[in-house]
Amino acid sequence: MTMTTTSRGPRAALEQVEIHDGRRWHRVCELADLVPGRGAAVLLGTEQVAVFRDRSGTVYAVANRDPFSGAQVMSRGLLGSRGPVPTLASPMYKHVFDLRDGRCLDEDAAPDGSPAVLRVWPARRATAAVSVHTEGV
């Protein structure tokens, strides 16, 4: 999980959100598309990713699939904190996840036995000038 230190200024509206799929950065939306404290779903190839922006401006990207319900809904969850941990609460059954490593803080495993962890993508803010263009997703 990364964040830029770019301060929000007159150019904030042009700022982009980018996530890294292990090979390169992909531009997925404008920062202005995200309401602080909430997220949006994006498609990365066939993969659904939930991207968020917290009140301080940090951006995050995790898998959109809620491991407990199997529905692609994490982008509609609420950001928050638990102690020092930045969190995301699933809108379906309210399980809370650590936004930094995707781990569920309430239960270790989903009902099907799989580990209750969301995949995490590195995410950053980038201005139009410095970001790498993606060729469509």
């Binding site: 939306c29 909430r38 949006a40 659904q48 529905a71 609460a89």
Partner: protein, 869 residues
Amino acid sequence: MTRPTAPPAPRHTGRRHVVLIGHGMVGQRFLETLVALPGAAGLRITVLAEEPRPAYDRVHLTSWFSGTSADELKLCPPGFVAEHGIDLRLGDPATAIDRAARTVTTASGAAFGYDTLVLATGSYPFVPPVPGTDAAGCHVYRTLDDVAAIRADASGARVGAVVGGGLLGLEAAGALRAMGLETHVVEFAPRLMALQVDEGGGDLLRRKVEDLGVRVHTGVGTRAVLADDAGRVRAMALSDGGELAADLVVFSAGVRPRDQLARECGLPVGQRGGIVVDGECRTRDPRVHAIGECALTSDGRVHGLVAPGYAMAETAARAVAGGEPAPFTGADTSTELKLLGVDVASFGDAHGATEGARDVLYSDGRSGVYRKLVIGGDGALLGGVLVGDTGSYGVLRPLAAAGRPLDTAPGQLVLPAGLAPASGPVELPDDAVVCSCHNVTTGRIRAAVADDGCTSVPEVKKCTKAGTGCGSCVKVLGTVVDGELASRGVSVDDRLCEHFAHTRAELYDIVRVKGVATFSRLVEEHGTGEGCDVCKPVVASILASLAGGHILDGEQAALQDTNDHFLANLQRNGSYSVVPRVPGGEITPEGLITIGEIARDFGLYTKITGGQRIDMFGAAVDQLPAIWRRLVDAGFESGHAYGKALRTVKSCVGQAWCRYGVQDSAALAIELELRYRGLRSPHKLKSAVSGCARECAEAQGKDFGVIATSSGWNLYVGGNGGMAPRHADLLAQDLDHDTLVRIIDRFLMFYIRTADRLERTSTWLERIEGGLGHVRAVVVDDSLGICADLEELMARHVGAYEDEWAATLADPDRLRRFTSFVNAPGTPDPAVTFVTERGQIRPARAGEHGTPLPRPVLIGGDRVEVRTA
């Protein structure tokens, strides 16, 4: 062990044989206590029951009329009989006892040898020995079969007369009234409930009962029941020479002990009935016990309430199993109940019979509250009568039972909550019995916390059984447990979450007093961290109910739960359902067609909801605006099915159509729904309006419910269905339209101001100090002087209301949120797929091959248009 011929040798199996005659409430309690005692391990147990069904809750028999099923009344847990190897013989009553041979014979001719015999035969209804009581249409009120017969008979009857104005009589009258019969109560004594209440309480009770449309005749007896040619009752001849036309008669003029079996086998019985027993519930024959309503106890009385019956059952079980003896020494005859919606309680020496006793009295004829305390010469509370407001019964009864001089001035105890000067809660002494069903004292409850490590009311209930009988002491139980926890330094944690060390009510006051308008400011000044899925929606709701404005405006948008955020209800596969408002459930054919067309065009699953509207399922996030566009254009608006807000005001069709309606319930329901639509509250709010006492809209199961009377409206509050059903309490009665609306305004705003997160009105009413009496004092009598504020807040809500769907459609910024993928708008979520079942869609399950919905395509712009793809 059945031997219809020769009596068996009693000891031939080698195990001691206990035979119980009667499987009523007391019999069942005897069995439960017995099998739990170590000494019962080697016993063989046989039960001979007259009724065809196992023990059920006779105390709540009347609730059968209002929908409680026979199953729900069952007292004998499934598997209980088998688990303990009990031989339960239903429908085969005992007919004779041979004490010399130690056998019992039953109606079927079976004979059972016993080592120990327990009689729990109960009582039978007393029918006055006057001519004609065998006419068709005459009933008693004792068993499930009796009430079933009354209901079957009532459908063809017009006027019902109840003989007897005691507890059971008034319950029966309430049932007849609810079934739509013109109802009369005939009581021989000069007042209703003569045993429990005094003259003042009786007067008030009578007025309240008459207000409910029941005619009361006191001081008259029944001379004869007159029948028509077909042998059906047509009237009652009264002792004052009058005649009362009635085609259904219920006798509930008291009960008599069923002691005939004992009489016939030579056991002593009292002059006025009842099998004579000693302190261990033994009859003259040491092998025979008698318990419950058939017994005449050592205090010279026959006890007709269930609590003393239970105490006898436990005493006898100990005597039979050879446990530590626990003599029965008489019992608390206190009563608290709701009769025809009127709260009545009496406890201890209610009539001031003790030498030197003095009354302390509070009587408010206007609001229908009568409270009398009887104080002894030494300053101890001896007993009392409460009518109309029994909120303090839970504290007063144990205080009276403890019998020591009061620390609190009696004048303060007699005043209703809200009028009494504020002082700490009344401290109960350790020996005060809080739960009289299980005889649990304050000291035992405190010990459960101090010594047994209980930290909550449910744990204490499990540990001590307190509060698990009739449940009337649970509130006091909570106070004692909290007090003990606090005194041991265990803080009772009522903080909202880790981010706010406040309750919801405190946050509400902070927001209101300081004029805080954003979550950021609130968490910075009064909280910590970033918030969470608990506090954020709570703050959003508080801001919405105080400040108004669209719930998706500015920062508020980030606080809402997903349902509020998307103004629709999230379903299991990530799709949403949409519910347009149908005020009062009234909808035109055109409206129905429009909804049908929209659902058809978008391929949605439709279902009629319990709240009299139509739910459309299967919409993807990015389809919602197009669906709303169609609905809004056709004159529909959001039904707030997604919000902690007013849902529906359900109604029956009312006076306009119904033969029985006395007011226009549909019109009032529509008016109320339109007034309170969109009102954000701690939890969802449901309401209903019924046009007559038949209550077809089920208003008494709602947060606020209105029932028409011939002279206005009765307002009920705190009802609930669902997981924890609760009948609503009558808050105020016979209100005119404007007063009704004003009181509902105040009630709702008071609830919104003081309730906890996700606390429905039912639990709120149970929790807040002073309960219903306090709420009535605040919202009806304005005891806190805040009613003008509450009304002003509601006026602001009503004035600022806007349809959230239409407002969202009008704002391109808000609309941008309703997209499937921000980087690929218009691409449907490939994970949301459906299969067809019974002609409609449902979400595909894991392993099923589903298909996405064929979807209409959105064309951008500030007006969303739809065409089918």
